[in-house]
């Protein structure tokens, strides 16, 4: 899954080409793009701590906005960055917006905003039974232990092609060195956490 591929075959390049086809008038290319990038957006929002339902809303809202304002994306090769930056921004907005929106709706509709209560935007995490084994459980704990942005980055690049790492890191606001695919701070941090866990054994 994570091996170097010829350039032109990485996700970022494929997405750019597909978006280019849409800009030239091929509507079906947009649906292809949705299929291609929705999983990365899911990881980005979930990594930001949004629950699954809110994540769906955010992902959908970003796509609807893009469809409406696709002309504003000048360079087709920046589409992945556009989509991930928007997801991140929207996720951030949503997690802070709840209260303001309830106050505003309360005012508009004459409902006491106290009645609308706070919706917890944080997530309880998976059921214990979702894990295959103790090793997975342990890995989950360490991934959760990463700072939010690192958690996002690691869970996005886990599904990406190696040559795309730098581009994805930049899209998520965590630029890594531009020379070659270096490990980066987030992965280094995760390895550090695992190294400090006496129960974790490297599996090669």
């Amino acid at each position: 899954m994570i091996e170097a591929r010829r350039s032109g075959e990485t996700l970022v390049l494929r997405a750019g080409e597909t978006f280019g086809r849409f800009q030239e008038g091929d509507r079906s290319a947009f649906d292809e793009l949705v299929e291609m990038l929705t999983p990365l957006m899911w990881r980005t929002c979930r990594g930001a701590g949004l629950d699954p339902v809110t994540t769906e809303d955010v992902v959908q809202t970003v796509w609807m906005s893009l469809l409406r304002s696709a002309d504003s994306v000048r360079d087709k090769h920046t589409i992945v960055k556009w989509v991930l930056t928007s997801s991140r921004r929207e996720a951030w907005r949503v997690s802070r917006r709840g209260r303001d929106d309830r106050d505003r709706s309360g005012a508009v509709f004459g409902v006491d905003s106290e009645e609308l209560m706070a919706i917890p935007a944080n997530d309880d995490g998976p059921e214990e039974t979702a894990f295959r084994d103790d090793r997975q459980r342990r890995l989950w704990d360490h991934v959760k232990g990463l700072p939010e942005r690192c958690r996002q980055l690691v869970s996005v690049i886990a599904f990406a092609d190696k040559p795309d790492y730098a581009h994805l890191a930049e899209s998520l606001g965590m630029p890594v060195g531009s020379i070659g695919p270096t490990r980066g701070r987030c992965l280094a941090k995760l390895r550090d956490l695992l190294a400090g866990d006496p129960h974790w054994e490297e599996e090669l």
Partner: protein, 172 residues
Amino acid sequence: MNDDHGADGALDEAAARPLDTTDEALLREVAQLLVDVDPVPEDLVQRIQFSLALDEMYAEVAAITRMPLDAMAVRGETTETRTETLTFSAQRLSAMVTVSRVGEGVRIDGWVAPAGAIVVRLRMQDDQQETEVDESGRFVFTGLAEGFAQLSFHPQDEQDADAVVVTPLFQL
């Protein structure tokens, strides 16, 4: 875990090293973990594609906020009635929508502000309906099937598509 043990310098140094096979194996393991415990919903892509297949131009996508279940429900309601309240906010208008399952069908009670001559369209997989809001900005759709729905608001006093507000899909 000894966080302090890995001083910033050491972390920087580790971060600058090229990816090795351990990193790659670790990323594969993270990917498998996420697929197992937090899968992307199977029909999410399909739902998004449906929500994007609107025939009309729209100016704004309303932000959706979900109210906690039953926060606004009247006490003593039968358990057969489940209600959910959603609000949609856009620059041009706000809407509050209550979805209730009563008996056979699903019912939507909506309220748009500011009130005005507004046509509300409801789009579902196999159904499309349209209604106009009353003087106070209220509208109702009844006898709906369960599934996903999307609303669009069309102010009638502005003829251009620039005024149309759409919502993301929500569940009935």
